[in-house]
């Protein structure tokens, strides 16, 4: 057995995990990579866009305020790159602020759904039996509630605050994820590697965390990236109704609402800029999620 002695001294070979394989596949998908770049740019815009303009999102440009419709258009001269909003504030700064809030809502909603939904669904699916029954009936009941109605009620009763919006989104966003995670868990739990762990006596929480969840993650990540835009749209819809984020905060939906209200005066920039950011980000999220799905789908191997 001479080879063994050689091998003992040899370098440990690095493995190629399924994640690394997926990354290679993802980077071959041009639309997905382009979407990722767009999303990075939009995020950078949200984080650092405020530094590009001398105007803040609060101050009103008194010089132009009276003549927003005629003089408030996008201009480098006045340093209002995206023009002014109806109240005479700098629209560029407002869009930066709206982007921050919309992205945050999308990401927080997706994160809640990933953490709560995945653990909830994996637990129900893995333990099964009565617990599974009870847990999934709870999900059914929560899903049967017309959440838009409840959310509007919440916002009306407890006042319109961004916190209530998060509560509302947190309440509903994880339900679908719980179902998806449970369905996947049911198929994973009959795999022999889970049986092997049970046979060895690995405890249930460890099996869920170590064996079930990592194998769910592909599906979960894909669904979460697709959930971000739907959360953003959800918030935008609420804001469009005038129930979402309140002044002085703003979001894409609120800005689009504002811009749409001014459309008949011909100030199209007020609608155009927020809508542009809204649309490219949504498309980018969808293509990004699609690329992830193709990359993570094990059937492709």
């Amino acid at each position: 057995m001479t080879h063994v002695t050689n091998v003992e001294t040899a370098e440990v070979v690095k493995g190629r995990s399924l994640w690394q394989d997926a990354r290679v596949r993802f980077f071959r998908n041009k639309a997905a990579v382009a979407s990722m770049i767009i999303l990075i740019l939009v995020s950078l815009f949200a984080l650092f866009g405020g530094m590009l303009t001398p105007w803040s999102n609060e101050e009103i440009d008194w010089n132009l305020m009276g003549d927003v419709r005629t003089l408030g258009g996008p201009s480098f001269e006045t340093k209002h790159y995206f023009g002014l909003d109806p109240l005479g504030r700098d629209l560029f700064a407002r869009v930066v602020q709206g982007t921050q809030i919309s992205l945050m809502i999308g990401i927080v909603g997706a994160l809640i759904s990933v953490v709560v939904g995945t653990l909830y669904g994996a637990t129900a699916g893995f333990i099964g039996g009565r617990l599974d029954n009870i847990m999934m009936r709870i999900v059914d009941i929560l899903m049967a509630i017309p959440y838009m109605f409840v959310l509007i009620l919440l916002l009306v009763v407890f006042g319109r605050s961004i916190f209530m919006l998060f509560v509302g989104i947190g309440l509903i966003s994880w339900l679908d994820m719980a179902r998806i995670a449970r369905g996947q868990t049911l198929s994973i739990k009959n795999k022999e590697f889970v049986e092997a762990a049970i046979a060895t006596g690995v405890s249930t929480p460890k099996i869920i965390i170590r064996h079930i969840v990592p194998n769910l993650l592909g599906v979960v990540i894909v669904y979460a990236t697709l959930l971000v835009p739907s959360m953003i749209m959800f918030e935008s819809f609420i804001s469009f109704l005038g129930l979402g984020v309140q002044e002085p905060l703003t979001s894409w939906g609120a800005l689009i609402n504002e811009g749409a209200g001014q459309m008949r005066y011909g100030t199209l920039w007020m609608l155009g800029f927020p809508l542009f950011f809204f649309l490219i980000s949504l498309f980018a999220f969808f293509f990004f999620g699609d690329g992830l799905r193709d990359a993570l789908d094990p059937k492709d191997r």
Partner: protein
């Protein structure tokens, strides 16, 4: 000196699954699928017991019931004197390091998201959580080397290995806690023939080295023949014959065993000519509705009226052979 006491002693083990008929109302009582219906056997230290039977006869279920991975309807599983079925969950956990399992699908039995180093270390870390990391690493390298996997592969992932290598990794995972029993559930069925022999020889070598007992499940007799000391034949959840391996192949007792043996290809053509292949006509009855009396009677060429009335008990036929049949 006393006769050696068995390592494992299974008595009247029953596993019944509840099956809801399609479209049944929630309150109707489920049908009972008797996957394992009253199995008795002993396993001696260092012995290999082969278990054979057609697909669906309850081999895997029997193994899983012994490991308490499915709930049993009744019976006892004595492991070194303790009844595993009456232990608490924690009491059972302490015994899990003494018995390990190897599975049919080598790749599916390894978590695709873990490196083989992590996979092999898991039982050790589960049962001896205080083992220092360096010792875990040494032990992992040691067992991997033993099963013929280069220890510098510990950071690789299962999909980077062939089926035979994956099965070796599965064996390494079973060995790392130095068990006394390894239950192999069709460990070579999914492998190429040339690799089957390697894996079986590896198992036999390891068994000799470590004085292990093995339960070796297979669906045909030819694989079991090579490795087993004794062979148990299952049919619809019932033991129809347990016999010393040589005796079983030389003089199969039960009509079902005879049919199985006649289907095993025999290298000597002369012997084969005499050994007419008995084809089992009729299909395997549904385990949901097994025949009365002897479960084999619907397909048995020797069946007599008594076979439909009384279930034949396993009786001793000398030469280490037990057969459950009224006629033979």
């Amino acid at each position: 000196m006393n006769a050696p006491s068995p390592l494992l002693s299974v008595r009247d083990l029953k596993v019944w699954f509840d099956i809801k008929p399609k479209g049944a109302m929630p309150w109707t009582a489920p049908d009972k699928l008797k996957a394992v219906d009253g199995v008795d056997f002993d396993l001696m230290p260092g012995e290999t017991l082969g278990i054979v039977g057609e697909s669906g006869c309850g081999k895997s279920t029997l193994a899983r019931a012994i490991m308490r991975m499915v709930p049993s309807e009744g019976g006892t599983v004595l492991w070194l004197g303790d009844d595993l079925l009456s232990l608490t969950k924690n009491g059972m956990r302490a015994h899990r390091k003494e018995m390990q399992m190897i599975f049919q699908d080598p790749l599916a039995s390894l978590n695709p998201r873990m490196t083989i180093g992590q996979i092999v270390a898991e039982p050790l870390k589960t049962h001896f959580p205080n083992t220092p990391a360096s010792e875990v690493k040494d032990r992992v390298r040691e067992v991997l080397d033993r099963v013929g996997i280069l220890p510098n592969m510990i950071n690789r992932y299962p999909h980077e290995f062939s089926g035979g290598q994956c099965q070796r990794i599965g064996i390494a995972r079973a060995l790392i806690v130095k068990p006394q029993l390894i239950i192999c559930d069709e460990p070579v069925s999914a492998l190429d023939v040339s690799i089957q022999a390697q894996v079986i020889n590896l198992l036999m070598d390891i068994q000799e080295e470590m004085g292990l007992s093995l339960i070796f499940i297979a669906h045909d007799l030819s694989v079991v023949k090579h490795i087993s000391t004794r062979v148990m034949v299952l049919y619809l959840g019932n033991v129809v014959e347990i016999s010393e391996s040589d005796q079983l192949y030389r003089a199969p007792g039960h009509p079902y065993t005879q049919a199985l043996i006649s289907a095993v290809p025999i290298p000597d053509p002369k012997a084969h000519a005499e050994n007419e292949v008995m084809l089992l006509d009729a299909d395997l009855p549904s385990p949901l509705d097994p025949p009365s009396g002897c479960v084999f009677r619907t397909r048995c060429p020797l069946a007599e009226p008594v076979c439909a009335e009384i279930k034949p008990p396993l009786t001793d036929r000398g030469k280490g052979q037990q057969v459950a049949c009224h006629v033979i």
